[in-house]
């Protein structure tokens, strides 16, 4: 099946890559792969800097954080909290295999070994996995188009991703919906192996930032606790910024601006 699709892909690619954007052309495996990969790397890219607000609502508390985020590939990232004031300057640095936390209140840096990285990232419904994961979704999953057509007046593809036989991933299945017109993702649903929905990632606020069309807003809702959620919103986003590995240093971790 795949080989057949690959042959067809070559043929179509020879014709016109632009045909991909036409509503009614069938999506070939390789370019579907690109789309999924793109979605996966949408907000990570090769290098980026962003200004984000994260609002978390849980059963016991709610809070809102403003943060500045830099990333270089998947190996390096730096997150610095700007507000609320009492947490300003708190930062997390990932450089290669090492993760460091800076705590401005006590002016100390602690090294966090991978086995101690507790599930959630900064208390949100995102996991550390989501943000520091190095392997790409396309390497770990096989995919097929489960639906193609109109949903609520919008032409979309829906993909079903199933983990490859030995891929070290916890999900039993992932479903994604992508808009045909601009290849923007609308939602991603994560299922466990019994087929139960565990969490949903919903995208919205599509606009151009840093020269690319991106969804500025992401909402995570856990299926078992509908009253809880996390909303991540990008206010600014630049891609291909001029940073190299040396930027992701302990000294920068501790810098206040």
């Amino acid at each position: 099946m795949r080989r057949y699709q690959t042959v067809r892909t070559l043929v179509i690619q020879l014709l016109n890559t632009a045909l991909l954007l036409l509503l009614s052309s069938p999506l070939q495996a390789q370019t579907a792969r690109e789309i999924i990969d793109r979605v996966d790397r949408l907000l990570r890219g090769e290098s980026s800097r962003g200004q984000i607000t994260m609002e978390i609502t849980t059963e016991h508390w709610s809070r809102s954080l403003d943060m500045e985020v830099w990333s270089l590939g998947v190996e390096h990232s730096l997150v610095r909290v700007q507000s609320p004031a009492r947490e300003e300057g708190t930062a997390t640095l990932k450089a290669g295999q090492e993760v460091w936390n800076y705590l401005p209140r006590v002016d100390r840096t602690i090294k966090v070994p991978p086995s101690l990285m507790m599930g959630s990232w900064m208390g949100s419904h995102f996991t550390n996995d989501d943000l520091v994961k190095e392997s790409r979704i396309v390497d770990d999953y096989d995919f097929e188009i489960s639906f193609e057509g109109e949903r609520e007046g919008v032409e979309v593809w829906e993909f079903q991703l199933t983990p490859r036989p030995e891929a070290p991933v916890v999900w039993g299945r992932i479903e994604e919906q992508v808009r045909k017109a601009d290849l923007m993702p609308t939602w991603i649903r994560y299922y466990d192996e019994d087929g139960d929905l565990v969490r949903t990632l919903t995208f919205s606020g599509y606009r151009t930032m840093g020269g690319r069309l991106v969804p500025a807003s992401m909402l995570v809702t856990p299926a078992d606790k509908p009253e809880e959620q996390t909303v991540l919103t990008y206010h600014e986003l630049d891609f291909d910024i001029s940073v190299d590995e040396s930027f992701f240093s302990l000294r920068n971790l501790r810098a206040r601006r």
Partner: protein, 420 residues
């Protein structure tokens, strides 16, 4: 009956006249009594030692939590919910209960301890340094440094944890813990001491802080705690005491759960029941042997008196008279022996109870069923065991004397006399 009084006097005189025989028999009974009671005391002592080592170290015999706290131990589920409760009043209510010796408040958090480049996951436990020593021996296990003082951001860790962190006394430790408002509570603490409980699960994982310091770190109101640990008079009675306390506290309208150590540490409870089983068998064996010794002696002694009985019969005594004499002898003998036995036994028991024999040169301490056992020979005494032992041996001696006496009375005097 006049006859009765006669037999009593005869019995008494028989005993008196054969002092050596009486002495031998009585000492057998007395020392058998000592052995049996001592064994029960020692095995009870081992059992109580085991329980108390399991409970007095950190658990307490009874614990109070918010109804929804166990088993997940969600940090938000404090006693009295988000508002908490007036600690002074609550603790006093509990302490005022008859069987309760003392109560101490605790709060818990899961977090990280960091020293230099080393970071370790830790279970943070906030304690009241004034109240805690009345309930547990935890603070007395501080081997280096000193216990905590409130309000100074001080921390105690286990010696194994300190090693893993590479910290020494006086070092600064960064404590990070998710707090109740979702932020990452963090602060600097000073390592003022290390403890050695002998239990790796504690020494490797726990960090002790002052209760108010932990509450502040975790953005918790001072009225919010997770647990009250309680020590009671008699550890083995804990389930009943927990029940009573539960009923009492239901009046306060706080949705709480009161658990005894038997609920919280079922493996310890199983250990205790196994030890009970072993001890039961052991005590049966010892007691059996003691009773046998007494019976044997009485049997021999009484069989040797066949001729004596025959003479008495020949003189005209009714068979029943001999029977009565022997029974009364047995009674008097039994009582004398037990009095003598008690006189030897009780001082020994009390002495051992108050100054238990320390075996630390012979063997070191270790953990059994999650409890730490220090090698000390301890003796517990109760009212029941000496009484049961005493009664048992008493009856044994009487019965053992009666049989041969009865046999002797059935033989015609002439034959018995001719036999020798």
């Amino acid at each position: 009956m006049a006859h009765d009084r006669l037999w009593w006097r005869v019995a008494w005189r028989n005993l008196w006249r054969n002092r050596l025989r009486t002495l031998i028999t009585a000492s057998g009974l007395a020392f058998g009594y000592l052995g049996a009671v001592l064994m029960v005391g020692l095995s009870d002592g081992m059992l109580v030692e085991l329980i108390e080592n399991g409970t007095r170290l950190m658990l307490g015999e009874v614990q109070v939590h918010s109804e929804d706290y166990l088993p997940e131990r969600n940090m938000h589920r404090t006693i009295g919910g988000y508002e908490g409760t007036d600690l002074e009043i609550f603790l006093n209510q509990i302490s005022s209960q008859e069987d309760v010796t003392a109560a101490a408040p605790r709060a818990y958090g899961g977090g990280l301890l960091s020293s230099g480049e080393e970071t370790q996951a830790a279970l943070l436990m906030g304690i009241d340094p004034d109240r805690e020593p009345h309930v547990t021996t935890l603070l007395s296990r501080v081997v280096r440094g000193r216990p905590l003082v409130t309000g100074a951001n001080e921390i105690l860790v286990g010696d194994e944890m300190a090693e893993q962190l590479g910290s020494v006394l006086g070092d600064e430790i960064v404590v990070v813990a998710p707090s109740s408002d979702g932020s990452m509570g963090n602060d600097l603490f000073t390592l003022v001491g290390t403890f050695d409980t002998g239990i790796p699960a504690i020494d490797q994982n726990y960090g002790l802080l002052a209760l108010s310091d932990l509450q502040f770190l975790m953005a918790m109101d001072p009225a919010r705690i997770h647990e009250v640990a309680i020590t009671v008079g008699n550890a083995q009675d804990s389930p009943r005491i927990a029940e009573t306390l539960r009923e009492f506290l239901s009046d306060t309208e706080l949705p709480v759960q009161v658990s005894s150590w038997t609920d919280l540490r079922p493996e310890l409870a199983e250990m205790v029941s196994l030890m009970n089983a072993f001890h039961f068998i052991v005590v049966i064996i010892i007691f059996g042997m003691a009773a046998f010794g007494v019976a044997n002696t009485m049997l021999i002694g009484t069989f040797e008196r066949r001729r004596e009985f025959a003479v008495v019969r020949a003189l005209g005594t009714a068979p029943i008279g001999i029977g009565q004499t022997v029974v009364y002898e047995g009674i008097v003998l039994g009582m004398i022996s037990l009095v003598a036995g008690s006189l030897i036994t009780w001082p020994i028991l009390v002495w051992l109870h108050n100054s238990p024999i320390d075996l630390t040169q012979v063997t070191s301490g270790f953990s059994v069923g999650g409890a730490q056992w220090r090698p000390v020979l301890r003796v517990e005494y109760s009212i029941e065991s000496p009484i049961v032992a005493g009664l048992g041996l008493f009856l044994t001696s009487i019965l053992a004397a009666v049989y041969p006496a009865w046999k002797a009375t059935r033989v015609l005097p002439a034959d018995a006399l001719a036999d020798r």
